[in-house]
């Protein structure tokens, strides 16, 4: 019987400094790992512990996996200190992943905040590879300041793709910033999507998800058209350790992206 708690070794091939607080680790697992965009992995800092991350790379590549990490605690401190050649551990994939089949032929509004663009990048790369996937992909992204914008080097390429638009904003500008200033919610009303035939997929901090959801409902989205990457502490990955629930759903097996129509009446959704 397979041991669901045992990580398999994964070697760090490269470390990419994305922002002052975010790094991407390029990992080569001992055995290729198949995953669906939006499923998450538990990444182990040996001897210290593990933390959940949704890969930011395309699922079409199974022998390499990119994981983008915001420094936010003891385990992520250790992961930020990882060097090429170091051995880490991977468990997973866990969860259901994004509802890619539902998106076929629809308009898609993608809303990202901060490091929340990392899981969405995996989704976007999947959709970019499939011309039949969505009719339109409107990406909106916000970060605290220009230095914290993730994957900035990809923005021009994404903007140049058919079907794709990208709007970016920062909460606080610096003198070199000539783009929009404001919260990501300020970008939503201007997005040209056919709301009744559309889905919105959002990933970011809880407070952002809360106000993005309110703004989307104001824009005419039904709760069932909104998917939120929920923030909870996911540990076991199998729905047993108990701490990642939103109502009766365990994010580690039923999410982590949840249809807002399913959870809107649960307590403490945007905690």
């Amino acid at each position: 019987m397979l041991n669901p708690y045992l990580p398999q070794p994964a070697v760090v091939e490269a470390v990419i400094d994305e922002t002052p607080t975010i790094k991407t680790l390029v990992l080569r697992p001992l055995k290729p790992i198949s995953f669906r965009a939006g499923q998450f992995m538990q990444l182990t800092a040996p001897g210290l512990g593990e933390a959940p991350f949704t890969p930011s790379s395309s699922p079409s590549v199974t022998d390499r996996m990119e994981i983008t990490i915001l420094r936010s605690g003891r385990v992520t401190d250790a992961l930020h200190d990882a060097k090429p050649g170091d051995s880490l551990g991977l468990r997973g994939p866990f969860g259901k992943g994004y509802p890619i089949d539902k998106l076929r032929g629809k308009d898609l509004l993608v809303v990202g905040g901060g490091v929340g663009l990392a899981p969405l990048r995996s989704l976007l790369l999947t959709l970019f590879d499939d011309p039949e996937s969505c009719r339109k992909i409107a990406i909106t992204y916000g970060a605290r300041n220009p230095a914290e914008l993730l994957y900035r080097q990809s923005f021009d390429r994404w903007r140049g793709l058919d079907r794709v638009s990208l709007a970016v904003t920062v909460d606080n500008a610096d003198p070199a910033w000539h783009g929009k200033v404001g919260l990501v919610t300020s970008l939503l009303q201007e997005q040209d999507v056919n709301v009744p035939d559309s889905f919105a997929i959002c990933c970011g901090p809880s407070i952002m998800l809360k106000f993005v959801t309110f703004e989307l409902l104001k824009k005419g989205y039904e709760p069932r058209q909104i998917y939120l990457s929920m923030n909870r502490r996911m540990s076991c990955g199998t729905g047993r350790c108990g701490r990642c629930n939103v109502g009766p759903y365990y994010l580690c097996k039923d999410g982590p992206d949840m249809n807002y129509g399913l959870i809107k009446d649960c307590s403490n959704v945007f905690a």
Binding site: M1, L2, N3, P4, Y5, L6, P7, Q8, P9, T44, A45, P46, G47, L48, G49, E50, A51, S72, G73, V75, T76, S87, G89, S206, N231, R232, R233, S235, C236, G237, T238, G239, R240, C241, G242, R243, C244, N245, V246, G247, P248, K253, S267, N268, A271
Partner: protein, 348 residues
């Protein structure tokens, strides 16, 4: 299921038989108190009919309080076969129901928990009818009776001069078959005595719980919010977690890693959702920062979310949470108070 009559000496012989191939635990009074505990059966020693569940929940034999669940790197990706759990005698009906809850958690879904599952399939259970119904007993409240109806290998019902024994599994029957000389027909009088004992225990349980009887489902009552009632009930909680750690159905756990020489170990320990740090995330945020939110979460998990996922309530009515609570919190009183408040509001 065919019933037999056996004497005390045959029960001892059955336990001795099991003890020949491993450890046997049996319920016994921790004298001079009335507390019942599992103790190791020593060869030739008699079995004591306690008629009440042991203080320890059975989960500790299958889902260990603290266990190494992985060592990395460099070990095969398989669950090492754990040592066989002890056979257990004197298990009460509430604890059998609790095992059904744990089975639903650990043995279903995409990832069977091999640590639990391997022990579970080897656990030999001799249950007993309850005769000593106490103030904290809530089996009838939880929808079961104070005597086992399924889920055991053998069940013992105390009657005059010995026990009526029933086998509910092939291996239970095999154990009986190895002791044919100790088995006899129970006869109609002893069967009638057992039925009378069972009815009396069930009536006694309802007598204790009559004041807590509900006309609404607990699931529905959970979302009723009235006049600080939840606050009042949580006001004596000291967040010790005793209710959750003693609960035979609570299964939340924590995984943590540590270095162990040249390798690393992943340890699993019991955890409790009433602890403030339980659901805290990196960065410090928590979905339930307030004690009252954690308190309500516990009941929602047991009587709402678990029902949605598994189809039955995650409570066996064993009463350990009531017995062990230093704040004297009683879920039966909580639900009754909510229902009374809801009814009062609806008639205003």
């Amino acid at each position: 299921m065919k019933s037999f009559f056996i004497t005390d000496s045959t029960v001892t012989a059955l336990l001795d038989d099991l003890a020949a191939s491993g450890t046997v635990l049996k319920s016994a009074f921790a004298k001079p108190t009335r507390t019942v505990r599992y103790v190791r059966h020593e060869r030739g020693q008699p079995f004591e009919h306690t008629g009440f569940r042991a203080a320890q929940p059975l989960k500790g034999l299958l889902f260990l309080p603290r266990e190494k669940v992985a060592e990395y790197p460099g070990v095969p990706d398989e669950v090492p076969e754990p040592p066989a759990p002890p056979a257990v005698a004197g298990v009460a009906a509430c604890d059998l129901k609790a095992l059904a809850s744990l089975d639903a958690v650990f043995c279903q879904g995409d990832f069977t928990d091999g640590f639990y599952a391997e022990r579970r399939k080897r656990l030999f259970i001799i249950s007993q009818d309850c005769s000593d119904v106490r103030e904290t007993c809530a089996c009838c409240y939880a929808g079961i009776k104070p005597y086992p109806e399924a889920g055991f290998d053998l069940n013992l019902s105390k009657v005059s001069g010995g026990y009526i024994v029933d086998a509910a599994s092939g291996r239970g029957q095999e154990l009986l078959d190895r002791h044919p000389d100790g088995l006899s027909e129970p006869g109609p009088d002893r069967m009638a005595e057992r039925e009378a004992n069972r009815e009396a225990a069930y009536a006694a349980a309802w007598k204790i719980n009559e004041g807590y009887r509900l006309s609404s489902s607990r699931r529905m009552l959970l979302n009723h919010d009235t006049d600080g009632l939840w606050d009042r009930h949580v006001s004596t909680c000291v967040e010790c977690g005793a209710c959750l750690l003693a609960c035979p159905t609570c299964h939340c756990f924590l995984l943590y890693d540590r270095k162990a020489g040249k390798t690393n170990e992943r340890i699993r320990t019991w955890d409790a959702c009433s602890y403030a740090g339980y659901a805290r995330m990196a960065g410090g945020g928590s979905p339930r920062p307030l004690l009252i939110e954690r308190f309500r979460h516990r009941y929602r998990h047991k009587f709402d979310y678990f029902v949605a996922n598994c189809g039955f309530e995650m409570c066996s009515g064993c009463g350990r949470c009531i017995e062990g609570c230093s704040g004297k919190i009683d879920m039966r009183r909580l639900f009754k108070d909510i229902e009374s408040a809801a009814l009062a509001e609806s008639t205003q």
